[in-house]
């Protein structure tokens, strides 16, 4: 908006102030008039317009700011007592003849049948929220909008058709003021609208009714009606506090059990007591190897080694189980495993997702912080506090300061629409995403549902949402990225303290560096050429909107982006100190924001003071006095008094160890979620967890050393008849491993896993968007590292993980899908990487001393953590012989016994083995990646095996990978 336009608006809004009253036929309700102005200019949503926000000249601002308080507020727009020469405006809110009152059923029917369709068909395309451009500032899709009116004042005067501009316009009496512009409505429609205005313009407000924006209440066809609040009823906060998950955690007492010997712990007493009440008895214990495989995968995400299995089986010490658990808890792999669990909850990814999918090259620092914090058993309350407000915490030294800053990346790495042009909408959406992540991830409630309407099930009015949103909008979220094609919303990053012992970043591979440098040079050349052409008058005259101009701008941005990236790495590809950057948050300007009706920026309501949801306010929740309130929010979340935080986390841990949560909707502890199967146990666990200093490791240790965790997976028909899903935990159901564990097991068993974790992430040496297939291939290609360290791009989940249901990180994912589908089978049968791992596994077995039976046994031990039974050995022996007969040795007669001297077909690309890590950016098929198309197409990327023995053993090794047992834990 330029100044002249604004003055027109201002003159309409406050004619006496500007002195051009003649343009305003009617003066308007000051509150509404101001609301219209605020809607455009109140960038920080604090309910008033500062001079900076006004930004249209000091003189104009001064004229409008009549009370000289430095802000434009409603007061500035009140008519001056006695000074106005205008007749008193018809009060929009007080439409006598029934505006604002509920329509009778007959009136509602009339409206829906005769009025709304006319408005919708004839007017909405220019005069509704749904219109692309609202013309004349007038909307006719709500009574409020009609009364508020547009550039020409209120559109209707309820009860008085002749005084209603809308009626005058549709009558077509005045050709300069006739609507709809193209064709007059038919007489019936005009008569209907006149009649409706005369009635007093009753506008039915039945919830669930579609308005022009289509904003109906979400339907919930399968929800239990009894939990849904009756429509129109105010939320009763006090009543809401009585809901189980909002009540304080109680210190429950473990019950006595009839069988006093079975329980080994209080957890067991809770479980057995419930079983006894239903006349169920737990099944027998699992054997040692089954338990070892179970606990090793659960705590580290990796299979036990045959040596570990043998040692444990032989260990008859009374504390043999405890020793295993303590060994696993102490292993760095525990951090990787439970860190990954948290990364699901934290919707961690290294790109923005949505339309542009802009890369977040510094997100890996947060990943590392999560893994290290889990490995170090950082108290969980501290773990959460740092993610919300690490920047506001005192730090003993640069290291702590750096990690505290990195922890706040949590708030910065959610999905974002980087192509959004509206800065206010963007920041509201960022805050919304943060609210969704925090409320579901940490608190197990769906507060984000209250953005547009009071929560349907839970006691969260919209004010609660905007109270939290105010905290986040008083915070500056720094996610990095530079403005470029598809990205209108670049932001700064946070520099890490120079004294901190944090890595500068990953190595930029030489080929990538060349690739980037070449691209930059090419872009610079074409920019220079374009400049020369323009100066020499050659070429076409550039026109505004010219494709060339667009292209050139994109190239300029690309050059800037690439230069910035290259500047943070030296010639050898080593990251420089200038790359010590992190995503995260810093304090912004503290402000309270307005509740937005239906979540729409154009409909600000009353101001919601920053704070926490009312139903969860406890005595010790600190009031927000200064700053954003983020630290108060964090402290409240991590408070022992918070009824949700500890319950939600112990439930998540339970879920990862027992397959299903005690609350089976881990991200929703509200009325729309499931109630706990064992409420007393849940509370006991939560209170113990708090009492033991929020130690995740202590909790895990407690749970995996229970008798319940030791149980076999076998069904008991008798029990199943009573409790088919084993909710009472009378057995340990077999579980499919997560995608990461399956892939990591492939690497471990084939002996190809790189022992040390990589520094950073391949994304760390990139910037911009994933526009080119080659880049996507480059970053998602196979690497012999643990899956948690693979690039984590939204929309480009690594195939090997995607196929086994790894989440795309668009949302908080507390409970992953678990499917068994043909695409997984195809992957295990035919995927080039799986074949390479099979070759490596076979080579490992063939290199062993001893006979083939010993090798077969070793295969089972490596893959399944157990010895084969006789039938299995026989089947494999027969298979090996049979399969070898199908292989025709190479014509030369020279069997390729040497793994490194594979024969290659003419024209075939050299094969990359797992273990090699050569990037080939810009090449047609970079590295050994599974390109996103054409796998199994023209040229196979794996070499054929011509040695019958090697081929047979590789096929056997692969069959172990393919088997159900490989991907499940009993």
């Amino acid at each position: 908006m330029n100044l002249s336009q604004l003055l027109v608006v201002a003159s309409i809004l406050a004619p006496s102030a500007v002195g051009s009253a003649s343009t305003a036929p009617q003066q308007r309700d000051p509150a509404r008039a101001f609301a219209a102005l605020r809607q455009r200019l109140d960038l920080d949503l604090d309910g008033r317009i500062s001079e900076a926000e006004f930004n249209r000249g000091r003189a104009a601002f001064r004229r409008l700011d009549r009370d000289r308080d430095g802000f434009l507020t409603t007061a500035d727009f009140e008519p001056r007592g006695g000074a106005g020469t205008q007749p008193a405006p018809p009060s929009a809110a007080g439409g006598e003849a029934g505006a604002g009152r509920a329509a009778t059923p007959e009136e509602a029917e009339f409206f829906e049948k005769r009025v709304r369709p006319v408005l919708a068909n004839a007017c909405y395309s220019c005069h509704a929220d749904s219109a692309k451009r609202v013309k004349g500032d007038l909307k006719v899709d709500s009574l409020q909008a009609l009364l508020l009116g547009g550039a020409s004042g209120p559109a209707i005067v309820p009860g008085d058709p002749d005084a209603s501009p809308l009626v005058v316009a549709i009558r077509y009496d005045d050709p300069s003021f006739a609507m709809p512009p193209k064709q007059r409505l038919d007489d019936d429609a005009i008569a209907d609208l006149e009649r409706w205005v005369k009635m007093g313009a009753p506008w039915p407000s039945a919830p669930g009714m579609t308005t022009s924006t289509g904003a109906t209440e979400p339907s919930n066809p399968d929800g239990d009606a009894s939990t849904e609040r009756p429509l129109g009823r105010e939320i009763d906060i006090e009543a809401g506090r009585q809901f189980w998950s909002f009540r304080p955690v109680t210190r429950t007492v473990p019950p006595k059990t009839e069988d006093a010997r079975w329980p080994w712990s209080d957890v067991d007493r809770f479980l057995l007591s419930a079983m006894e009440a239903r006349d169920l008895a737990p099944v027998a214990d699992a054997d040692r190897r089954t338990w070892l495989r179970r606990v090793t995968f659960d705590l580290t995400g990796l299979p036990p080694t045959p040596e570990e299995a043998a040692a444990f089986e032989a260990d008859r010490a009374p504390d043999a189980y405890e020793q295993v658990v303590d060994r696993l808890l102490a292993s760095p792999a525990f951090g990787e495993r439970f860190g990954r669990h948290w990364l699901d909850v934290a919707r961690f990814a290294e790109s923005s997702g949505k339309e542009s999918n802009v890369l977040y090259p510094h997100a890996w620092r947060y990943r590392d912080w999560v893994i290290q914090s889990m490995a170090a058993d950082m108290p969980f309350d501290e773990f959460l506090t740092k993610q919300i407000a690490g920047d506001l915490l005192p730090a003993a030294n640069d290291d702590e300061r750096a990690w505290n800053l990195i922890a706040t990346s949590y708030l910065a790495l959610g999905t974002k629409s980087h192509n959004e042009r509206d800065a206010r909408k963007f920041s509201l959406d960022v805050a919304d995403e943060q609210i969704d992540a925090i409320s579901q991830g940490m608190l197990g409630v769906t507060l984000a549902c209250a953005r547009c309407h009071d929560h349907k099930f839970d006691p969260f009015p919209t004010e609660d949402y905007y109270a939290v949103a105010g905290i986040l909008l008083s915070t500056e979220t720094r996610y990095g990225t530079l403005d470029s094609a598809g990205n209108n919303r670049g932001s700064a990053l946070i520099e890490l303290p120079q004294g901190a012992h944090v890595p500068n970043g990953p190595q930029m591979e030489p080929t990538l560096r060349q690739f980037l440098t070449r691209g930059k040079e090419r872009a610079e050349q074409s920019l220079a050429k374009a400049r020369d052409e323009r100066m020499n008058g050659g070429g076409d005259q550039p026109r505004p909107g010219d494709v060339n101009a667009v292209r050139l701008r994109a190239q300029r941005q690309q050059v800037a982006l690439t230069s910035d990236l290259l500047s943070r790495f030296d010639e050898t590809g080593r990251a420089l100190p200038s790359n010590r950057l992190t995503m995260g948050v810093v304090e912004g300007k503290p402000r309270d924001i307005a509740v937005l009706e239906r979540g729409e920026l154009s409909k600000p309501g009353s101001i919601a003071p920053r704070g926490i949801p009312q139903v969860l306010r406890t005595a010790d929740a600190a009031a927000i006095r200064a700053g954003s309130g983020r630290l108060e929010l964090a402290r409240w979340i991590a408070s022992p008094e918070n009824p949700l935080t500890a319950r939600v986390w112990v439930n998540r841990v339970w879920l990862h160890l027992f397959g299903t949560g005690l609350v089976r909707t881990p991200d929703n502890f509200g009325a729309g979620g499931a109630a706990p199967d064992h409420p007393a146990l849940l509370d006991w666990l939560a209170s113990e967890f708090i009492a033991k200093g929020w130690s995740t490791k202590a909790l895990v240790r407690e749970l995996v050393l229970t008798h319940a965790y030791r149980l076999d997976s076998r069904r008991s028909a008798q029990n199943a008849a009573i409790d088919p899903e084993a909710l009472l935990r009378w057995r340990m159901p077999e579980r499919r491993l997560e995608a990461e564990a399956i892939r990591d097991a492939l690497l471990v068993v084939s002996g190809t896993l790189q022992a040390t974790p990589p520094v950073g992430s391949p994304i760390g040496a990139l910037e911009g968007t994933i526009r080119r297939e080659e880049i996507a291939d480059l970053v998602t290609r196979e690497r012999p590292i643990r899956s948690v360290y693979l690039p984590s791009l939204r929309g480009h989940v690594v195939d090997a993980l995607d196929v086994f249901d790894a989440p795309d990180a668009a949302f908080v994912t507390g409970d992953r899908e678990e499917t068994s589908v043909a695409t997984q089978a195809l992957f295990m049968m035919n995927d080039a990487d799986v074949l390479r791992y099979s070759d490596a596994f076979a080579a490992r077995l063939l290199a062993l001393q001893g006979d083939d039976d010993a090798r077969i046994t070793a295969g089972f031990e490596l893959a399944f953590g157990r010895k084969p039974v006789a039938m299995e050995v026989n089947a494999v022996r027969a298979f090996l012989a049979d399969y070898a007969r199908t292989i025709e040795p190479a014509p030369s007669g020279r069997a390729s016994g040497n793994d490194t001297e594979r024969r290659q077909r003419p024209g075939q690309r050299p094969r990359n083995r797992p273990g090699q890590d050569t990037d080939r950016p810009g090449s047609e098929r970079p590295g050994s990646n599974r390109p996103s198309a054409g796998r199994g197409g023209a040229a196979p990327a794996v070499a054929p095996l011509t040695d019958p023995r090697r081929a047979a053993w590789s096929a056997f090794a692969q069959s172990l990978f393919q088997s159900a047992e490989f991907r499940t834990i009993g």
Binding site: N121, S125, K182, T210, P218, S219, N220, P221, D222, E355, C449, T665, D667, N668, G670, A674, A675, S713, P724, E725, E734, E773, A776, G795, D799, D802, D805, D808, A810, E817, S820, V821, A822, T823, L826, F827, M829, N830, L835, M871, A875, F879, Y883, T886, R930, S932, A933, G934, R935, G936, G937, P940, P944, A955, Q958, Q962, S963, A964, E965, T968
Partner: protein
């Protein structure tokens, strides 16, 4: 075959479910839609009974990426001729209307006006149901394409095909239930399953990437569909060992459904390898058929192949088949390039409709044609048209739709949909309705909320249902 499947698909709550319902009351099943419970309980791809009598069993979606100009193809605007060159107010400054350079002719008994650019397709005018009142949210390709495929351009949501497969399962267990041919790259969400189980995602065949790696004469670019080194016999031997191990494992762990599911998945995968490539292999197709589809003629070869593969898959019982054709973004060179595009699809689509009709499949197959939005009736430069999301045309033919019908209309110039306005949500609701699915009841509980393809919108265009 389908009879047996239908029988087995009748919902009979197992004792396990009955118990679950009775004992938990507010348990998972109560929270989740019936479809979800069933899909989780049985083979997720098993054919399931629809909500109401289905008018079509399967969908062939001819997706025209780039947004074809409706006023030059299926939206006859004679007024544009009279107003050719007139300056429009209220739109882009100086926008001048441009009459279609092509004639429209009444075709068939219905006299539906179609552009002369579709001489062959015009023969099927009485089968076409034109939706001339389409509109969508944004005039930008990626967003509108996502909207058209998933109902949302802001969030990653399951695609139309995934929802259909989730709702109905599939008839041929030897084949994937949802196949997409030559989709544009980097658009996985358009055939993805998002939060629906991965089993419902579209199987991608080929990529529209500089013409490389398309589904060709015999090449079958499907992820991991063929083993690079094993023969079928060798692979079968290997699978026999795997299944023996699996059965032994199942025996030791009595009654785990998970193991059964894994055993099944290998058999389907193995069968898919057998049947899918043969469906895509056109080397044995009769010359007359090849000619009918325009296979072998440079202009029509590519799309002709896709249409023929789609027809093969339809006959084989694939539930949802998407066929892609890009290149409709005619900001310039409209007069030269639009006829080329139309020629590329005219004969293949006509052959597809004839072929489906002749084999009796058309009555139970819903063929849908459409781009993500339309183009402006006013010119961009002298020989192009800009994006227009406010009004455009798609069409349907086959199962359950009235043929020879023009439903809805844009204004006199073809800019805004004014009659029979059909949003993408309405369009989705209508497609699901024809498939026997109620868009309001087809829900999936995810992250504590019931999701629908149509969110909280969508109205079935009942007037087009025959």
């Amino acid at each position: 075959m389908s009879n047996d499947l239908r029988q087995s698909a009748q919902f009979q709550p197992s004792r396990r479910d009955a118990l679950r319902l009775a004992s938990s009351g507010f348990g998972l099943l109560a929270l989740r839609g019936l479809t979800q419970a069933r899909a989780a309980q049985e083979n997720p791809l098993a054919a399931r009974a629809p909500h109401h009598a289905a008018r079509a069993k399967r969908v062939i979606f001819l997706s025209m990426a780039g947004a074809p100009s409706h006023v030059d193809t299926f939206d006859y605007k004679p007024g544009l001729i009279a107003r050719d060159g007139a300056t429009l107010s209220g739109y882009r400054k100086g926008a001048k209307l441009m009459a279609s350079p092509w004639k429209f002719l009444p075709r068939g008994e219905s006299g539906l006006y179609l552009s002369e650019l579709f001489p062959e397709l015009g023969r099927h005018a009485d089968r076409l149901c034109l939706l001339r009142g389409m509109h969508t949210d944004v005039p930008a390709h990626p967003q509108a394409t996502a909207k058209m495929h998933t109902g949302s351009f802001q969030f990653v949501r399951p695609s139309l095909g995934a929802w259909t497969l989730y709702g109905l399962g599939t008839e041929n267990q030897d084949l994937p239930g949802f196949v997409t041919l030559n989709p544009p790259s980097n658009n996985a969400q358009n055939y993805g399953s998002a939060f629906l189980p991965a089993v419902y995602q579209g199987l991608r065949i080929g990529l529209e990437r500089n013409g490389r790696q398309r589904a060709g004469e015999t090449g079958v670019p499907v992820d991991d569909i063929t083993n690079p080194r094993q023969s079928k016999a060798q692979q079968r031997k290997q699978l026999d060992l795997v299944q023996a191990l699996n059965r032994e494992h199942a025996r030791r762990n009595s009654g785990e459904d998970e193991i059964d599911a894994i055993i099944e998945s290998y058999e389907l995968a193995f069968r898919m390898q057998a049947e899918l490539p043969s469906l895509l292999d056109l080397s044995n197709v009769k010359q007359a058929t090849r000619d009918a589809y325009g296979i072998g003629k440079p202009e029509t070869d590519d799309f002709g192949r896709q249409c023929l593969m789609a027809r093969h898959m339809a006959a084989a019982g694939v539930r949802f088949i998407e066929v892609g054709m890009g290149g409709w973004d005619h900001h310039r060179n409209l007069r030269q390039e639009l006829p080329e595009r139309c020629r590329a699809i005219d004969r293949p689509i006509a052959a597809l409709l004839s072929d489906l009709a002749a084999s009796g499949l058309l009555d139970e197959t819903l063929v849908i044609w459409g781009g993500e939005f339309g183009r402006t009736p006013y010119a961009q430069d002298a020989d192009g048209r800009d994006h227009n999301n406010r009004g455009f045309t798609t069409w349907m033919a086959g199962g359950g739709v009235k043929g020879g019908l023009s439903y809805g209309a844009t204004d006199e110039n073809g800019i805004e949909a004014v009659e029979g306005r059909t949003s993408i949500h309405d369009w989705h609701a209508t497609i699901l309705h024809l498939m026997g699915l109620d868009h309001e009841r087809l829900t999936y509980n995810y992250a504590g909320r019931d999701f629908r393809l149509t969110d909280v919108h969508g109205e079935v265009a009942r007037d087009i249902v025959s």
